[in-house]
Symmetry: C2
Subunit: 178 residues, 2 copies
């Protein structure tokens, strides 16, 4: 799944493309794979506060992107699928078409902007802590919008030092231990 990692100023970026086949593993030269492994090791050592997935959902079913109710329920359900705790929801429908919305979760947020006329949606899934997996939400959204050409960039947010920082996910209003 790991295609083109590169370290930049504000964190760590890698590209996950669900449409790319990874069977065989022969597409990446040995040397490059070694560089990737070392870089991944370094990233794991750095400990970021959050993981931010940026989804480019191309070739979706336009009908799914044009319904305010469907988009809102789908984003909320994606959060719940990932075991996130929803704390705020805000959506807006534009004229003649297009929906923008956000679901604030105890573990950060999900955001969506749809262009039904292009079958495209820009989606962000930003989570903190180790308790929930943003990829579960991403996979759910790709399926529900019937997206035939998705791509994902994963970024680490809040790389503040080399020590492991505690996070503070909330469950039903209570602080739970990291």
């Amino acid at each position: 799944m790991l295609l083109a990692p590169s370290e930049v100023e504000a964190g760590w970026i890698r590209t996950l493309n669900p449409s790319v086949r990874t069977e065989g593993g022969a597409r990446r030269p040995r040397k490059s794979a070694g560089v990737v492994r070392r870089a991944e090791k370094e990233v794991n050592r750095l400990h970021a506060l959050g993981t931010h997935l940026l989804l480019e959902l191309r070739d979706c079913n336009p009908k799914t992107l044009g319904s305010l109710e469907f988009v809102q329920e789908t984003l909320k359900n994606a959060a719940l699928e990932a075991k996130a705790t929803i704390v705020e929801v805000a959506f807006h429908e534009f004229s003649p078409f297009g929906i923008s919305g956000m679901v604030v979760i105890a573990e950060s947020h999900l955001a969506i902007h749809t262009w039904p006329e292009y079958g495209y949606a820009a989606v962000d899934v930003f989570t903190c802590g180790d308790l929930i997996d943003p990829r579960v939400a991403a996979k759910f959204l790709i399926e529900k919008f019937q997206c035939k050409n998705p791509s994902i960039i994963e970024m680490k947010r809040g790389i503040l030092g080399h020590e492991k920082l505690p996070h503070k996910p909330m469950v039903q209003g209570e602080l739970v231990s990291a």
Copy 2:
């Protein structure tokens, strides 16, 4: 300002670091500058639907990050500074500290998550169309949170083809021409 551009699967990324001095312009070899110019030209030709700035705000004044009222007003004012039209606002304060919030604008969204205990905030400024400049909002936020160590990644979202796509910014509920 352009430091380390690299094209990846889902769009175009470049790193803007306000703390890096660019006077003299002697830090980048000629060849690299040429590559950057060609890449920028190609990006301009591609026409993305949106521009997404990912701000890593380190070494902020913790007091500014811990006040729900201040964070909310600052994010709203950042949107207004950039001439955006606010359509939805949702904020949440966590116990013992930390604020998450989102401002949905007609031109996409602003989002913030603060960790006052680390003097850190993760901020997103996502705008569509050519009428507003997300960097104005980014500069405003860096100033208001008294951030001494900011960095910014700029990503293009919705690169769907080589043709220029119309955007549909809304002003006071009306569709304006692109």
